[in-house]
Symmetry: C2
Subunit: 413 residues, 2 copies
């Protein structure tokens, strides 16, 4: 009883679109304790789609989730191909027609006659309403084979999975075991080291886990294998051993959002002075709605003149130690904090490369400082072998980590 995914579209095979609906489905299924059996993409061709379905039908009990080919144009063949593969007639669904008309009316647009084609479904199919676009989906179940056809637009596909996948799984006898998975987001520990540390925890056997590395972070998903008490023991040990690296929970939580949350918890306003990260720290923070309440000021002081004129870094520090040095990065942090009258500030200076390295300060050298109203601390880390973009990303996340540790050490206001 397998679940297969088939994406339809010439644009995928011509390299013009990166297919991502299969991955979205796979992730969705994993959350239900289910796994995709295989994944395919074929072109906008009725024979190719029908042949693929015929091949997948050989395995009894298969549910095929299709994406794409439901548009109103001449090269949208999914409806016909499914009907053909299953030996069914196509019939116009009045309900589908009404839903399409209603959607156009709601948007105040005139329905194009071609859109009527989207209301045709294989005889016996269950209509799956699309609340996010014009193409309705459908589920057709014939003996021990089922096809769920969904639109290919990623936003519509994902929303329709949420709305209808449960029905399709149930109708085809796939027993979802919705795991109560806990998603932890970690930074600062390599994946292999984390795996090693997890394996040594008590009642490791009680825990099912999967990790989704999204460099430089890890999303770790933990769930119980059934023994709730043992799982609780494991979780407590996990938090004690690896809690230092956990910055958040849930798939949507970002490192920047965790920093802002912790700063808001202790009522602290932030200023940022960036040299080597070049605005990335500020950019990631301002991706989070409401960040304006916490981020008082960001300065991208790439040039030495900007470091001295805007941040007040003394010229002799720059001359004696160079821009990538702990004294300078301390002065940057203290300077931007004072200028914004913020409670805490972080500053970065480093050599992102590809040029600019020296024997003493190779490409990858990063100086980081945290300043608050009482003190300034700096550190130097060498991040070897990273291309420019990855160096900036890792440096920004290290800045987030240090801010998080700072905020965690603060008393509540």
């Amino acid at each position: 009883m397998g679940i297969c995914f088939v994406a339809i579209g010439d644009e995928i095979l011509r390299g013009e679109t990166r297919e991502g609906n299969g991955a979205a489905l796979a992730e969705h299924l994993a959350g239900l304790g289910l796994r995709l059996d295989q994944l395919r993409a074929v072109g906008d061709s009725k024979p190719a789609i029908a042949a693929t379905l015929a091949d997948l039908r050989r395995q009894p009990g298969t549910l095929v989730v299709m994406s794409g080919g439901l548009g109103p144009t001449d090269d949208d063949f999914s409806r016909q191909a499914v009907a053909e593969a299953l030996g069914l007639l196509l019939v116009q669904s009045e309900t589908a027609m009404a839903q399409i008309q209603e959607r156009f009316a709601r948007l105040g647009r005139t329905m194009h006659p071609a859109n009527a084609a989207q209301a045709w479904l294989p005889l016996g199919a269950k209509l799956l309403e699309n609340l996010h676009g014009t193409a309705p989906g459908f589920l057709i179940h014939v003996r021990d084979f089922a096809v769920m056809a969904l639109p290919g637009v990623p936003r519509e596909f994902a929303a329709m999975l949420d709305d209808h996948l449960g029905t399709a799984l149930q109708a085809t006898g796939h027993v979802a075991a919705p795991r109560t998975e806990l998603t932890y987001r970690l930074f600062g520990i390599p994946e292999s080291e984390m795996q090693g540390a997890l394996a040594e925890l008590p009642r490791y056997d009680a825990c099912a886990m999967r990790s989704l590395p999204t460099w430089p972070e890890i999303r770790l998903k933990l769930s119980s294998r059934g023994d709730a008490a043992a799982f609780a023991v494991f979780l407590e040990a996990f938090r004690a051993r690896l809690g230092r690296f956990v910055y958040g929970q849930g798939d949507g939580d970002s490192h920047a959002a965790a920093v802002l949350r912790e700063l808001q918890r202790c009522d602290a306003r932030l200023a940022v002075a960036e040299s080597c990260t070049g605005g990335l720290v500020s950019h990631l923070l301002t991706e989070v709605p409401g960040s304006s309440r916490t981020l008082a000021l960001g300065v991208v002081a790439y040039a030495n003149a900007a470091k001295s004129s805007v941040l007040g870094v003394p010229d002799d520090l720059l001359r004696d130690h160079g821009a990538v040095s702990e004294p300078v990065v301390c002065a940057m942090a203290a300077g931007v904090r004072a200028r914004a009258d913020a409670d805490v500030a972080v500053a970065t200076s480093g050599i992102a490369g590809p040029d600019g390295g020296t024997p003493n300060k190779p490409v990858g050298t990063l100086c980081l400082a945290i300043a608050d109203r009482d003190q300034v601390r700096a550190e130097t880390i060498v991040l070897r072998g990273l291309p420019r973009g990855r160096f900036k990303t890792l440096a920004a996340h290290l800045a987030f980590d240090r801010l998080l540790q700072w905020a965690r050490g603060r008393p509540l206001p």
Copy 2:
């Protein structure tokens, strides 16, 4: 004579990795005038891989490009599965063994005994050297069916395509027609409008084209259908009609790099004041190596206090017009330009949402200003219906566009 792609890996079907090698191959083939026939992903299972190959073998003349399953561990089955599907013995290749040993020696690491498994190939296979990892690939050609097995690590896969795909295509009689494609990068015109404009150009028939939308930019690839003189006529008309929207050429060229190149051409230094883009303009500019020569200063002035204290925006402007207004964004641009003594400055202020909109200034309102040593100009654009992240991205690209137009209007120094 089709070309099919098969990715191997449980992690793909469990939703832990987004498969991208298929898209890389599709794009590579498109550049050679060839197209992928289908794309599949199956798990780390010898029967599943062998069954897939057996199915694909039914179509005579097929070349299968596989990625993954060539590692040294117990769940790497590609070598065995290919041998089994083709009814061949696996034999240890001395050359492969020597290459693996040499690679470990070069990295100063001890070779693990398990890595010896990577030197086994189906009898008769041609070894494909991997200069970027330990897993060699291979090409096996039996009658009218061929399999090229490559490692799954995206960097290694892409490099081995460059090194070996030509051989595989030649060996299997796939005639590549390497097009001399010209890649243009455009911003500021919707794709459908661009398509319409292209279709109206003289000698449209002489041009083969494909466009790869990478929102908010378009990569447009143009090549001749054979009539070089007619293609030249088309290209000239293209440049005249759409040149305004072309900011660069080639796949690697970014909008930010084009801005820096144009500013360097007219020897101008840049300052940036960002409110709603929150550091993204600076971040994208500093992704480009050497940007420090041109970017003098960036200020992320999210808070009004920062706008007045760092950028010198008069308090009464903020009070009378609000932060999202042309007078304020003009003062921001002029202020940051003066502070950095730069030749040109750009400033952004807007309402990224999801909150903060008013009837007069809805979410999506963007004010942009460009200041130089002579004047300041501002404009207001409403970008409707974009989530926060996309609003920031589009706003940053609009800032780049205005900087580009400014630089293009400058005389050479």
